[in-house]
């Protein structure tokens, strides 16, 4: 069967769908996940530089040991029971989003990374990208980062602005445009 066609979320995605706490991955049902707590934040802008409000972001990542909470991960039985690996946030009036999570471990053959999805009015298709961490030696050997043209790779590397605090700016189009994946 052929997959159903995508469409924009439009301008009226219910605010209620961005549940309080959905951007905090560090706990599940009141129990704390293992690992180093980090914050990932940034601003989302369109081509003319305007910051975008009410844009919805979702992230997916493995736990601190690099294990995904999903049966396709061969190590899935050892996954942190208190870490779901998924979260949702929306940008505020200044276009800023923030997630609290734990620093992901490296899945087999990959550098530590966090997958992102962006959904918004005017985006007919979900935009998908991937965050890498500044200073990770394994970035140089990551096959997904290597698929990005060399001159644009740095745009996927989140800047460490303080211990445990990362900035990941997202530009949908134009100068410093974030690399997005065709998948």
């Amino acid at each position: 069967m052929i997959p159903t066609g995508e469409a924009t979320i439009g301008p009226f995605f219910p605010p209620r769908f961005v549940d309080a706490g959905a951007n905090d991955l560090t706990q599940l049902a009141g129990r704390k996940a293992q690992g180093e707590v980090i914050q990932i934040s940034g601003c989302v802008r369109q081509e003319d530089g305007e910051a975008l409000e009410n844009l919805v972001l979702e992230i997916w990542q493995p736990d601190a040991k690099g294990i995904y909470r999903h049966p396709a991960d061969p190590r899935h039985a050892e996954a942190d029971a208190d870490f779901l690996g998924w979260g949702r946030a929306a940008t505020d009036q200044e276009g800023n989003y923030a997630f609290r999570t734990v620093r992901p471990g490296a899945p087999a053959g990959r550098a530590p990374h966090v997958d992102f999805m962006l959904m918004f009015s005017g985006l007919m298709r979900i935009l998908k990208t991937t965050l890498y961490f500044e200073g990770e030696a394994a970035n140089g050997a990551d096959p997904v980062l290597a698929a990005v043209p060399a001159a644009r790779r740095a745009l996927l590397v989140a800047r460490r602005e303080a211990p445990g605090k990362y900035r990941f700016e997202l530009k949908l189009r134009g100068e410093h445009e974030t690399p997005f994946f065709d998948d």
Binding site: M1, I2, P3, T4, G5, E6, A7, T8, I9, P11, F12, P14, P15, R16, F17, D19, G21, A22, Q46, E47, W60, P62, Y68, R69, H70, A72, D73, L84, G85, W86, G87, R88, P107, G109, R110, D115, M117, F120, S121, G122, L123, M124, R125, I126, L127, T130, P143, V144, A147, V148, P149, L172, R173, G174, E177, T178, F180, F181, D182, D183
Partner: protein, 232 residues
């Protein structure tokens, strides 16, 4: 369980930049999208988001004195993968305008009336057969505030998760026989006529239930097939 994700037939998916939808040229990448071979990261995904997202149920029409204004409808949706296998236990989010074409949203400053008995957001989980049911009122059409404004036909928005990151889907469902369908810039952004037709629900005769509502059925196909044992 392993999932295989094949590239999509682009004709069955909407264009990213839509003439007459003025935000699209500013918000969609200019650079070519980067091809990547799916890794474990994209071939896994959140299977149980319910702990993060409060379930709201699928009955949003209200009852008795609190019933929403409009044509009551039952929608029966089946969610399957590319093998046609049911996708059970996945969270579905639904949102729509009220019977007059107005959203319960601070950004909707249209003049159509708000309905105090209609918020217009459901969140539920598919059953083992991939099915879910929505009891709602049929949404009204509404104007898009662009310079050469057009009207969105009645439609319902869906967000679904599926089994892996790449099966995530945001889509819209339309109604049969609506004259506005032919002019809708969002529906018609999908080039393939058969793919557009699959976005339109079917009206069916109610069987074995009270004749108090229109009954529509609709299928949603999420990306992904089960890996066959012959695969390396």
């Amino acid at each position: 369980m392993h999932t295989v994700i094949a590239p999509r037939d682009e004709r069955t998916q909407p264009a990213r930049i839509v003439p007459g939808y003025p935000q699209t040229p500013w918000r969609n990448p200019r650079e070519p999208l980067v091809r990547r071979v799916p890794t474990l990261s994209e071939l896994t995904g959140p299977l149980a988001v319910a702990p993060r997202l409060e379930l709201l149920g699928g009955d949003i029409a209200g009852h008795g004195a609190k019933r929403a204004i409009g044509q009551l409808m039952h929608l029966k949706v089946r969610v399957v993968d590319e093998d046609g296998a049911p996708v059970g236990g996945t969270v579905v989010e639904v949102w729509q305008a009220n019977g007059a074409g107005r959203y319960s949203h601070p950004n909707d400053d249209d003049h159509a009336p708000v309905d105090a008995n209609f918020y217009g957001a459901a969140r539920l989980v598919t059953d083992d057969t991939g099915a879910f049911e929505l009891r709602t009122v049929k949404p009204g059409a509404y104007p898009v505030p662009t310079r050469d404004g057009w009207w969105r036909p009645p439609h319902i928005h869906f967000s679904l998760f599926g089994r892996v990151w790449l099966s995530r889907l945001v889509t819209q469902m339309y109604f049969p026989g609506e004259p506005l369908n032919a002019q809708d810039r969002i529906l018609n952004a999908v080039p393939d006529a058969a793919a557009r037709e699959r976005l339109v629900a079917r009206l069916v005769s109610p069987t074995g239930e009270p004749h108090d509502a229109l009954v529509f059925v609709h299928d949603i196909v999420l990306r992904g097939r089960k890996a066959t044992p012959t695969q390396p």
